[in-house]
Structures are given as structure tokens and as C-alpha cells.
Symmetry: C2
Subunit: 108 residues, 2 copies
DNA sequence: TTAATACATGAAAGTTTTTTCATACATTTG
DNA sequence: CAAATGTATGAAAAAACTTTCATGTATTAA
């Protein structure tokens, strides 16, 4: 064993490729507001922007919108309009898993 | 059920407090080099700066040092000198768990 | 002591993120 | 159509982060 197929830095199970994907997810999620949004969407399947703002405790519409747009752009979220509302939902399943993962870590 | 003891945003298991800790860890770790360092230290218990640079594939000493200092400052790492070397090691156990957690997620 | 090795550090530059603000656009309602 | 509601957007400001470079400090070896 301990073959170095793709020169993994260490043997933890995270090779370069995985590492980069994790880094990507971490980076686009590492922000209180965004983590909160992800949680909301992990628990609600789909929510309108206004709704998200409320649940976030009165976050500013514009700022929230920007966060949503960013996450959508990066592929984590998707959105669709219905009337004058726009509903966002999680697209990249991995994100849920990551949060789930973290949530399960009782040590925190 | 569905009691709202501390007004948790959602019921995933991540309340505000946890959320902030996770965000903190994610934020100070969300960088390729830093993730790599964490991995190295998760697997090695303690490494000198030069050693880390090497294993990182010839990273610059100064830059690596800065990353290490940052992580130390934030409480993730600790260091101690021995001769002319300074050895760093993981201090905040949670970090290992988070990475471990992520590494276990086969979906990635 | 001097030189060499291993790191740290601070400042400046460069880059990316976050936040704010004003305004625009789409949809529904009157 | 006009007004109201819900959301997007772009630009500018603000803040945070990353990288580089030059230099400083501690320790060991000559």
C-alpha cells in the first residue's frame, strides 16, 4: 500500500483533487451569512429572498441578494421565479453533506 | 417537539453558536496552502517550517511562515522551538475533525 | 566572534471580498 | 397605466486577505 498514484500530500484520504473541491466549497461557504443561508436551504428546499432575509434576522435585501447571486454563480444554488418572488434552493448536494458533516461533529 | 430554546435558525443541529465556530474554522482554513498544512500536521503531529515548505512542494519560506503565524494567532496551531528549528503542530483538535469529516465524505 | 542556518516580521503592493447605496427591472394590483 | 412589491445589479467604498521583499533575530557551528 501507500502507493503514490497522484502524489497525495498525505494519507488522510484527501488527495489534491478532493482538497481543491473541499477548498472550493469551504471558501464559497465560509461566511456566517452564507452558512446560515445554506442551512436554511438545507432545511427548506426552497425559499424566497424576502423569506431568507427575515429568517436571517432582518438582513438587508441587497446584501442578501448578492450573497445568493454569488453562491448561485459558483454553482451551489439555483433559483426560479414564481410571481414576483424568486425562490432559491441548494443545487450542489455536496454542500448539504458538508454542513451535515459538520453538524454531526458533536465536538464543536 | 420543535421547541425554540435559543431561537436556532433551523433544526439541523447547527445553532448560531456552532455556526459561528464552524464559520471561523472554515474561514481560517479555506485556502489550499492552509488546508495542505492542516493535513500535514494532522498526519505528522509536529513539523518544522522548512520541512513543511518542502512537503508543500517548495513553498516560499516567508509566505509559509505567514500562513503558519496566522493559523497560530487564530488558535489553530501551536509552535515550539528546538535548536534552530521551530516545530508547528495542530492545537485546535476540531480542525482535524473537520478535515477528517470532509475526508470521509466519499461523495466529494 | 563570525558565519551560516532556520525562521519571523513588517511594510508595501496586489488582489479579492464585503458592504452600501442608488437605481433598475419584473410582476402583480388597483 | 400607475403604484406597489420583490428582487437584481452595478459602481464605489471599505475591509480583509495574499504575496513579495527586505531585513531582523535566535541558535548552532567554525
Amino acid at each position: 500500500m501507500t502507493a503514490s498514484t497522484a502524489a497525495p500530500l498525505v494519507d488522510m484520504g484527501l488527495d489534491i483533487e478532493k482538497m481543491e473541491k473541499v477548498a472550493f466549497i469551504l471558501k464559497t461557504t465560509a461566511h456566517p451569512t452564507r452558512i446560515a443561508i445554506v442551512q436554511l436551504l438545507a432545511a427548506h428546499d426552497s425559499l424566497s429572498v424576502g423569506n431568507i432575509c427575515e429568517r436571517l434576522g432582518g438582513a438587508e435585501q441587497s446584501l442578501t441578494s448578492h450573497h445568493l447571486a454569488t453562491m448561485k454563480l459558483k454553482g451551489l444554488l439555483s433559483s426560479s421565479r414564481s410571481g414576483k418572488n424568486i425562490y432559491y434552493s441548494l443545487k450542489m448536494r455536496e454542500v448539504i453533506d458538508v454542513i451535515q458533516c459538520l453538524a454531526n461533529c458533536t465536538f464543536l
